[in-house]
């Protein structure tokens, strides 16, 4: 495909997505679509790092910070999410830098890095639970309903508005992805993921490059958490933070394929449809079953299809192209 055709395809697809809620108004299906878009954005944020071999299980922590800081600022200080979301993103970014800097500076990679980030998401969960006087602990937390301006409070009643908000956020995620894809950082990070010492010897500032991508990823994940909180109007530590959420991100990204821009989105579509159909099929007995299926699929995917569904499909479609260096 030529570049123009490529862009045209994207434009047509996007236009169709924007038009959708004005043609089709079933609230349940729109709700599912909003969830898919928000989680796609979160999974895309995770894959920003994941595709370069920086496997983080700390993103549950960033997402939790995004959701809780925004909601807490709104409830306790009356600060609009328009201010609260940037503040929460800065908080998540600061945490990412505090944890990331020693990790990258002292070459904590592979297992070590995963375990450190794993602990990070565990700790954020503990902090949210421990500060139960403010956050409601494990029982969850609800942002106060807006009395005045809905837009100021970023609370909308109709699904169409939320669909458009989620769509916009999702598009931002893809734009950032492509922006990184075309930047020099991409080559630097790919070199780092292949061989850190060689990359450093070739003049790549390993610590700075890794910190940059970690910061971008953490900021976006916090935004996803905040949007999720604004949309659902109810958050619990387990749905927006902790190890389970981190693993959910990893799972969806891997199922969809984390080396292609739409891979995490495909992952989100598959996992959310799977969870919803299990929920409808099993009713209340579904508690636990969705995660059971997730877990088994995750293991099977890693063993048999490590590039994910979309990644493997694209590879099958273009056999003449050389495999990408990141594979």
């Amino acid at each position: 495909m030529t570049r123009q055709a490529h862009l045209a395809a994207w434009a047509v697809g996007l236009a169709a997505l924007v038009m959708l809620p004005f043609v089709y108004r079933d609230p349940y299906h729109l709700h599912i679509l909003v969830l898919i878009l928000i989680w796609s954005f979160a999974y895309t944020s995770w894959s920003m790092m994941g595709r370069f071999g920086l496997v983080s299980l700390g993103h549950g922590g960033f997402m939790g910070i995004g959701a809780y800081v925004t909601a807490l600022l709104w409830n306790h200080l009356g600060l609009s999410p328009w201010v609260g979301i940037p503040v929460s993103m800065v908080a998540a970014g600061a945490l990412a830098l505090i944890v990331g800097y020693p990790c990258f500076r002292f070459r904590i990679t592979g297992h070590y890095f995963v375990l450190v980030t794993l602990a990070l998401s565990g700790i954020v969960l503990q902090v949210i639970t421990a500060t139960r006087d403010w956050t409601g602990g494990s029982l969850g937390y609800t942002p106060n309903r807006a009395t005045g301006n809905k837009l100021w409070a970023l609370q909308f009643d109709d699904k169409t508005t939320w669909y458009l908000v989620a769509l916009a956020v999702w598009v931002v995620g893809l734009v950032v992805w492509h922006w990184i894809d075309r930047s020099m950082s991409r080559y630097a990070l790919e070199a780092i993921s292949e061989d850190e010492d060689a990359a450093a010897a070739a003049g790549v500032d390993v610590t700075a490059e890794k910190l940059k991508i970690t910061l971008i990823s953490a900021l976006m994940t916090a935004l996803a958490g905040a949007i999720y909180c604004q949309y659902q109007m109810f958050i619990t530590p387990d749905t927006v933070s902790g190890i389970a959420v981190s693993l959910q991100m990893v799972f969806a990204a891997i199922v969809g394929g984390l080396f292609v821009s739409l891979g995490p989105t495909v992952g989100a579509i598959i996992t959310i449809l799977l969870a919803e159909s299990l929920r409808i099929g099993f009713g209340t007995r579904a508690v636990g079953w969705d995660n059971l299926v997730y877990g088994v699929l995750l293991v099977l995917f890693i063993i048999f299809l490590p590039k994910g569904i979309l990644g493997s499909l694209l590879e099958r479609l273009k056999p003449q192209r050389k495999p990408s260096p990141s594979s």
Partner: protein, 293 residues
């Protein structure tokens, strides 16, 4: 004022000793994780979930079928050891040549499976053994008998592993493999067999920890999350695969949690431990006992 100080000191001492007792069980978990990392070069993210399954096994045998605690314990250890071997055979073995991250994520998938299996099979109720061991009063200090027992059993378990590793041929082979993975296969050691044995041993340690933890804590499907992360922190701080480092780090962390819990909630003890961990990463990034290159 003087009276206040006296009470304070007693509590402090009690917390310190409780920390040491807690450290025993943590050290057991760290040992199992380090063993598997050192030999197979894999981190079992789902390690704490194996413990959770073991705790359920204990609960059902003791509470449901009326088996005596000391008869149920060996069965639980055996069961979790088999689970460990199965985990290696089914999940890790096909991935041995895959990137290490994939192995780690696959065990993350197993974490999901075990957690949700427990949710589906046993429900999300908190269950406990119903055994209330007496509280040991020593001067003005109170110690739970269960903790003392756990500490001793954990020490015995660790000594047993030490003897196995140093006195038997298999143990020697395990230590040799952890030093050089390629050469040992050329020396005629069946690496596959050693990997399975190591995994079973790691599982057995998780099983022993389960028998001890079930005395002190309620079991529920997510109980693994309450001590899993801290075990990983301990292993990283001690240096992955470094047995002695893990042992020392266990007690350091246990003290932080115990003393942190003394002044505030238990969760804050964990938060404090994490803050300490971050600081330590700046100072000794390759683990407590790592030599400076």
């Amino acid at each position: 004022m003087q009276a206040f100080l006296d009470i304070f000191d007693i509590y402090l001492l009690e917390a310190v000793i409780n920390g040491i007792l807690l450290g025993g069980v943590l050290a057991l978990l760290a040992l199992g994780l380090n063993l598997i990392f050192g030999v197979i070069d894999v981190t079992w993210i789902c390690y704490a979930e194996l413990v959770m399954i073991g705790m359920y096994a204990m609960y059902f045998m003791v509470q449901y079928y009326g088996v005596s605690y000391f008869i149920a314990a060996p069965f639980t250890i055996l069961l979790v050891a088999l689970l460990g071997a199965a985990l290696h055979y089914l999940v890790i073995a096909p991935l041995l040549t895959a990137p290490p991250i994939n192995q780690l994520l696959a065990t993350g998938g197993v974490l999901f499976v075990l957690q949700s299996f427990a949710t589906v099979a046993f429900g999300i109720d908190f269950r406990n053994l119903g055994i209330r061991l007496p509280v040991l009063a020593f001067g003005d200090m109170n110690f739970s008998y269960a903790r003392l027992l756990s500490f001793i059993a954990a020490l015995v378990g660790m000594v047993a592993v030490y003897l196995f590793m140093t006195r038997t041929f298999t143990g020697t082979a395990i230590r040799a493999i952890s030093q050089d993975r390629q050469i040992m296969a050329l020396m005629g050691v069946d690496t596959k067999r050693i990997y399975i044995i190591t995994s079973a041993l790691g599982g057995a340690l998780a099983g022993l920890a389960a028998c001890l933890l079930v005395l002190q804590y309620d079991v529920h499907p997510f109980v693994g999350l309450s001590f899993g992360p801290i075990t990983f922190l301990i292993c990283v701080l001690g240096g992955l695969g470094n047995f002695i480092g893990g042992f020392i780090a266990s007690f350091v962390f246990a003290e932080i949690i115990s003393l942190g819990g003394l002044f505030s909630d238990l969760e804050w003890g964990y938060v404090l431990a994490f803050a300490f961990f971050i600081v330590m990463m700046f100072i000794r990034p390759a683990g407590l006992l790592a030599r400076r290159r």
